[in-house]
């Protein structure tokens, strides 16, 4: 139950962050969606042993973080809480791949460790990009962008409703669970015998709610299409945002910038 409440709190916090008014927040949601997509695609297109060349990509999440006034600790804790599937699978790489790849004096780094580090970096980059998209845009505006990208209205409408009712239903679930806990103190989870009726009654209430929502929307003239009241304007700044960042990503993808930088510094010193 505490877990539900804290998950809600965290999600609500993302909404609060999204309601800020900064330079990043003012960028058109479509521009941010496109840029994020470009970012993720280029990050995962790196070869599996890349670590150093991926570092410049950190600039994008860091920029959003600072300009968008998102607390870094918030993003990092969320990443740490994520189901660590990628990390669990990645751990096997050092155990399987023993090929020595990089030699730093006496220290030999095997391909496995290199690819594992690469997986961790990918994990950090791609997921923080997704979280920051929401933290600087807000869900409703992302949905609006989707609608403009010609995603079918049925999908967008139910996506918006899903998000709106997420909080209502999760609170309801928390109440049901609290009532159960008070009556079954020692159990760690709901016993399977009760689960059906517990979740089933939650489901029945949900279906009733769906009916009520539909009736209420019907009374206001709903015919399957939403008419959003947020105006969207794609300005020059938005275009500059997309092209600037995408150009940077492409350059960083094609040229290993840290290596060039290192060589330049070494040359300068010698």
């Amino acid at each position: 139950m505490a877990a539900i409440e804290s998950a809600l709190l965290q999600t609500g916090r993302l909404d609060t962050l999204a309601r800020q008014d900064t330079a990043v927040h003012r960028i058109d949601p479509r521009a941010k969606v496109i840029t994020t997509a470009c970012f993720v695609l280029l990050v995962v297109s790196f070869d599996k042993y890349t670590v150093a060349a991926m570092i410049p990509f950190l600039v994008y999440p860091l920029a959003l973080l600072t300009v968008g006034r998102v607390p870094p600790g918030f993003v990092l804790t969320r990443l740490a809480l994520v189901s660590p599937f990628a990390v669990v699978i990645g751990v096997f790489n050092p155990l399987i791949d023993h090929e020595p790849m990089v030699r730093l004096g006496p220290v030999v780094i095997t391909g496995g460790w290199l690819s594992f580090a690469s997986i961790l970096l990918r994990f950090l980059l791609t997921l923080s990009a997704a979280l920051l998209l929401i933290a600087t845009t807000g869900f409703n505006r992302v949905c609006l962008a989707l609608e403009r990208f010609r995603v079918p209205p049925v999908f967008v409408v139910q996506l918006l409703l899903l998000y709106r009712y997420l909080f209502v239903l999760a609170r309801e679930a928390a109440r049901v669970l609290r009532a159960y806990r008070l009556r079954a103190i020692r159990s760690r989870g709901v016993s399977l015998r009760v689960y059906g009726s517990l979740v089933g009654s939650l489901l029945l209430r949900t279906l009733d709610r769906g009916q009520r929502v539909y009736t209420a929307m019907g009374c206001r003239g709903f015919n399957g299409i939403l008419h959003p009241s947020i105006p969207l304007r794609f300005r020059t700044v938005d275009a500059a945002f997309v092209f600037g960042w995408c150009a940077f990503f492409i350059v960083a993808r094609l040229y290993p910038l840290p290596q060039h930088l290192g060589h330049a510094v070494l040359e300068f010193l010698s």
């Binding site: 877990a3 993302l14 997509a37 993720v40 995962v44 297109s45 070869d47 599996k48 990443l79 994520v82 599937f85 990628a86 699978i89 096997f92 790489n93 399987i96 791949d97 030699r103 391909g111 496995g112 690469s118 994990f123 791609t126 997921l127 997704a130 979280l131 929401i134 079918p152 049925v154 139910q158 996506l159 918006l160 409703l161 899903l162 998000y163 009712y165 997420l166 239903l169 760690r188 989870g189 709901v190 016993s191 399977l192 689960y195 059906g196 979740v199 089933g200 009654s201 939650l202 489901l203 949900t206 279906l207 709610r209 769906g210 929502v213 539909y214 929307m217 094609l254 040229y255 290596q259």
Partner: protein, 337 residues
């Protein structure tokens, strides 16, 4: 189990995205053709319901651990396959954005793994034929159990396939599969039990819902044909790209190696790129084993494509056999949509 951005290559992610987007567009058209504008609000609240139900953990008997509902098959039973597919897609989208589950590129893979199999295979080919339109306890139980197990096993198989085709993880195909399948067999059994108990409770309280959910099934044959096409296309193209990708890598390595500074550090970088080429060109886990390093890229590519197609064929064979096994019952009941 959510597939993660960190483990997939752009070719695999892109192919899965294309497949998922196509299926979603088709499903959205189907839902729209039903001309039932009550559907969208219902889908929305049921999606939110799946979230809240996932927060309620149940105790797994005799293990001391606890689990939660996945909800794919449950949504398919309540909404019909097309609407359920859209709802699962949006649940996964919210999870990717807010809970950082998986990531945005992996979303396509996740939609296929967790949406395609329960909605378009487990529900129409397994659950419906077994459970029928009646409210018989045993039938619903058996249908949900088998459906959930098959959906989860296929999903797990797809995760393994996507991971090995991407080549970021070093886990060999077979041992990864051996690691994933037993876990998902167990998860599937629990998921089936839980789905059945919830469905039975709801049907007992509101028998009219059982009938209401039936109208929205697509014709089985169209689904099967679409699936076959999608599978062959993804399998063939995906593996072709999967081995095409190293060519792109070689190209970029060649580019970087051309610049003078890079050659300078001597053994380090040069040896590294040689290793990378050796490792990536062949994709030893996925192509045929006897391919030698001297083989041209074209030959390797055919090998990989063949391997991909063989994988797809096997999957379809398993699915087809399951469908055949359960077909007589449907015939005898005459309960096809």
């Amino acid at each position: 189990m959510h597939m993660a951005d960190a483990l997939i290559s752009p070719a695999v992610g892109g192919a899965a995205w294309a497949g998922a987007a196509g299926l979603a567009a088709w499903s959205a058209r189907k839902v729209r053709l039903e001309m039932d504008d009550r559907k969208a609000p219902l889908m929305g609240v049921l999606g939110a319901f799946v979230f809240s139900a996932q927060m309620i953990n149940f105790a797994i008997p005799a293990t001391g651990s606890s689990g939660h509902l996945g909800g794919g098959l449950l949504l398919a039973i309540l909404l019909g396959p097309h609407a359920a597919f859209l709802t699962i897609t949006s649940v996964l989208l919210v999870q990717a954005l807010f809970f950082a589950d998986g990531g945005l590129l992996a979303l396509g893979c996740n939609v296929l793994n967790l949406g395609l199999f329960p909605c378009f295979i487990a529900y129409p080919l397994i659950y419906r034929p077994i459970a029928g339109t009646g409210l018989a306890r045993g039938r619903v139980m058996a249908g949900a159990l088998l459906g959930a197990v098959v959906a989860l096993l296929m999903g797990a198989f797809a995760v393994v396939l996507e991971t090995t085709a991407s080549g970021i993880s070093d886990l060999p195909f077979s041992s990864f599969l051996l690691f994933m399948l037993p876990i998902h067999l167990a998860i599937g059994i629990v998921e089936g039990l839980v789905t059945a108990t919830v469905v039975l409770f709801v049907y007992q309280a509101r028998p009219e819902l059982a009938v209401a959910g039936q109208g929205s099934t697509g014709s089985g044959r169209a689904v099967a044909v679409a699936l076959l096409l999608a599978a062959v296309i993804t399998g063939g193209l995906l593996s072709w790209f999967a081995s095409g990708n190293p060519d792109g890598l070689e190209w970029s390595i060649a580019r970087t190696a051309d610049t003078e500074e890079l050659a300078a550090p001597g053994e380090g970088v040069h040896a590294l790129s040689a290793h990378i080429q050796e490792k990536t060109v062949l994709m030893p886990d996925y192509a045929f084993g006897d391919a030698s390093p001297e083989e041209s890229a074209g030959v390797v590519r055919t090998g990989t494509t063949v391997a991909g197609l063989v994988g797809v064929g096997l999957t379809l064979l398993v699915a087809g056999t399951l469908a055949l096994v359960f077909r007589p019952r449907r015939m005898s009941r005459g309960a096809s949509a």
